[in-house]
């Protein structure tokens, strides 16, 4: 497949996920800088957008954004470790699994906190 042309185990998955999550975060950055610019030039319009962010679909989007951000951050750290301490690459499989362990231990509670207002109502 064109997008997944790199072949080989965890390396390929890490590369594909890093690219997909990075592109998703980039798209959000465009939106996010635009919205914060709105907050300075047209505060009421920003508050209207905030209602969308705080809505149920908005919260699902934020949980997905958080997942992309957390994966990209952890995998980026893995890349830096292997780049600057190549000797550690013999533990690459362990580091890859640690990535996912931290991803779920940190990510699941955060996702729950973000999504909770959908069924409990947003704090005022």
């Amino acid at each position: 497949m064109f997008f997944f042309r790199y072949r080989g185990g965890e390396g390929m998955l890490a590369w594909a996920f890093h690219r997909i999550s990075g592109l998703a975060i980039w798209v959000f950055i465009l939106l996010h800088v635009f919205d914060i610019w709105l907050a300075s030039v047209n505060p009421p319009l920003y508050d209207e957008l905030l209602v969308v962010y705080a809505s149920a679909p908005g919260r699902v989007g934020e949980a997905l954004l958080g997942a992309a951000l957390l994966f990209h951050a952890l995998n980026g750290l893995r890349i830096i470790i292997i780049d600057f301490w190549p000797a550690l690459s013999r533990y690459h499989r362990l580091i890859w699994r640690l990535n996912w362990l931290v991803f779920f231990i940190v990510g699941l509670p955060v996702a729950w906190i973000i999504l909770r207002p959908i069924w409990e109502g947003a704090p005022q």
């Binding site: 790199y6 965890e10 390396g11 390929m12 998955l13 890490a14 590369w15 890093h18 690219r19 990075g22 592109l23 975060i25 980039w26 950055i29 465009l30 800088v33 635009f34 914060i36 610019w37 709105l38 907050a39 300075s40 030039v41 505060p43 009421p44 920003y46 508050d47 905030l50 962010y53 705080a54 908005g58 919260r59 934020e62 958080g66 951000l69 957390l70 951050a73 995998n75 980026g76 750290l77 890349i79 830096i80 292997i82 780049d83 690459s89 690459h92 955060v110 906190i113 973000i114 207002p117 947003a122 704090p123 005022q124």
Partner: protein
Amino acid sequence: MSVVGGRRARPQGGGFELAVWYLMRLTGLALFVLALSHFIITHVLYDPAEQTAEWIISERWANVAIRTVDWLMLAAVTFHAFMGVRIVVGDYTRGGVRTLLTAALYIAAFVIFAMGTFALVSVPNVLPGG
């Protein structure tokens, strides 16, 4: 483009690409702290529903230190995100299309950085008594 173990190999020969390679890692490390803490603050410690424009301007940005950190995050993320997409563009396009898209990315990066900087400095109370 060589990708080893899911990552980009260090460019040989120095120059611009090597500088970008190092800066991607440097800004990435900065964003590991800045972007993750930003996400935790805005989504876990606070809820999006509470952070109205008025609240951002009068509470969050009343603190010049927070504004400064936000601006550093803006600078790091503008570089990291647009240079990252530039690599993607470089992987899937060539020739005139690549040149055109890369130029568009640089222009968009400048616009995004300018918009974010404008928001950070234009709202009131940037300086004590301002």
